[in-house]
Amino acid sequence: MSRELATVDEGLRGSSRVYSPGFSSALLAMAYRQVARFLVARSRMANAVIMPVMWLVFFGLGWSAAFSTLRGVERALFGGLEYLEFLAPGIVIMSVFMAGFGSGLGVIWDREFGYLKEVLVSPAPRQALILGRLVGDSVVALVQGLLMAVLVSLVAGWPGTARFLAALAAAYVAALASSSIGTFIALSMRSPEGFHVVINLIMMPMLFISGAFYPIEPLPEWLKALAYINPLYYAVDLSRGLMYGVHSTPLTLDAIGLLAVSAAFIALVVAKFSKTYLA
């Protein structure tokens, strides 16, 4: 108590620096974290690759064999492509979408295991923190998409480097869109179980009417209408157009639709996270 307070005061203020976090350093740190977490959690990588591989092998090869008995009709059904070519871009988008959407779960675990507090109590701009997370999650999703893209190209036929890379760019936008959709849903949820329910309730129908497995033109009008509000449809159509040159909606429309959905959900996520207080 006999300490000279004024001296302590000055001393402390003299010695301690006040750091100011920059937007980009915070964003990169959060992106790095998502990538680093992915690299140590091998099971996540396995999980995100195994499902699409199973679809490719058991669904794709199976139907491909069945359709090939129809000879000429097969190409007519699938816009001039063989079924495996038709399916390949869909499988890539599917793997990216599942990985991105599922990454929302991390938001719930962060709340559960307290890391959210570490982030919220930091002086970094909230927008940077959550955007960094989306960037990291979408990069991770893209890595998985890349693995799948290489695999399906080997099975269905190499589309050429330029087409391959263009399709990958589309896959990245799809990854960003699905990460932000998943994160947006997760931000308003508390339990991982609840999120799994949402995954099954939303993700599966979105996948089925995305045009990844079958063309949507022959569908009844009401299903078609659902497809047209499904961001995944635009992602699949865009990547199929870029990869094999077959699409049912103009590619610019696909691209605009996909970008618009991504931008909208990113904005929603940022707005929601910026308002996060603990109570």
Partner: protein, 331 residues
Amino acid sequence: MSSYAIIAEELRKSFNGFEAVRGVSFKVRYGEVYGFLGPNGAGKTTTLSMLTTMIKPSGGRGIVAGYDVVENPVEVRKRIGVVFQDPTVDRDLTAWQNMMIHASIYGIPRSDAEKRARELLEFVELDKFAHKPLRSYSGGMIRRFEIARALLAEPEVVFMDEPTIGLDPQARAKVWEVIQELKRQGVTVFLTTHYMDEADRLCDRIAVIDHGRIIAEGAPDELKSRVGGDTVYLRAIDSDSAKKLLALVSEYGEAKLAADNVTVVLVASNAPSKIPQIISSAERAGVKIVEARYNRPSLDDVFLLLTGRRLRDEEGDWRIWGRLVRSRLGR
């Protein structure tokens, strides 16, 4: 610029009509270790959460490191380090990765961050485990890591919410060592605890908080001197002799009969010299003392004096006292 690290003025917080904090006011000087001592649910964590900008106060003002916690939360966050009650680490990553991410979101340049992270991990004796994932750490190691991480950005004030809760005695002792070293270095620390020994050992000043209000404030010794002396517990053989004993010891200080009706509680200065006197005068009066024991005043007694309740979870039961048997004292 304020000369206080923390100023709280009538801070209050209600959750759905429940008043968790009912207007607390206090000031913490730079270089001071200030403790919030109180039972679970007293409003300690809520107060800390308001001061660390994690929740918005319902009323009153909080100034931390010169900035208002509501008007300027970002300026406050730049100047504080926080160790929350529950771990806030990424367990899948290593201590080093957690440190570097922390550095980046606090804007610490890489070279400074690496140098300081190395020093701090050494300071909390975790340098050997820097590249191990935190999943492999024990509770005590995680707490020490979190203290080190909270110091990375050279904060002006460090907040710690129940820094040793849930730790085994050895881990507690290590965390205490760390906090005591911070104290020596003049770091300002605000901590909450429901362990009186912890508050006593670590804090320069303590606010005793109960039901959302500060009921006493001061240095541990100041608070303890309010109890007025040592507390002597004398157990008689039955309630009749206890009553006689009560009359007998009243001249030594303030005395009363405990709830069990056989124990006399006496508050007196210098108990060690008074107990033999009491025993011999009781023997002369034909009153048999079965057990005699005394306590130096503890913060627990302070709490008991102020609230009529014990700080620990168990109910106040006079019977649990009295371990010194007559043979050790009387003969």
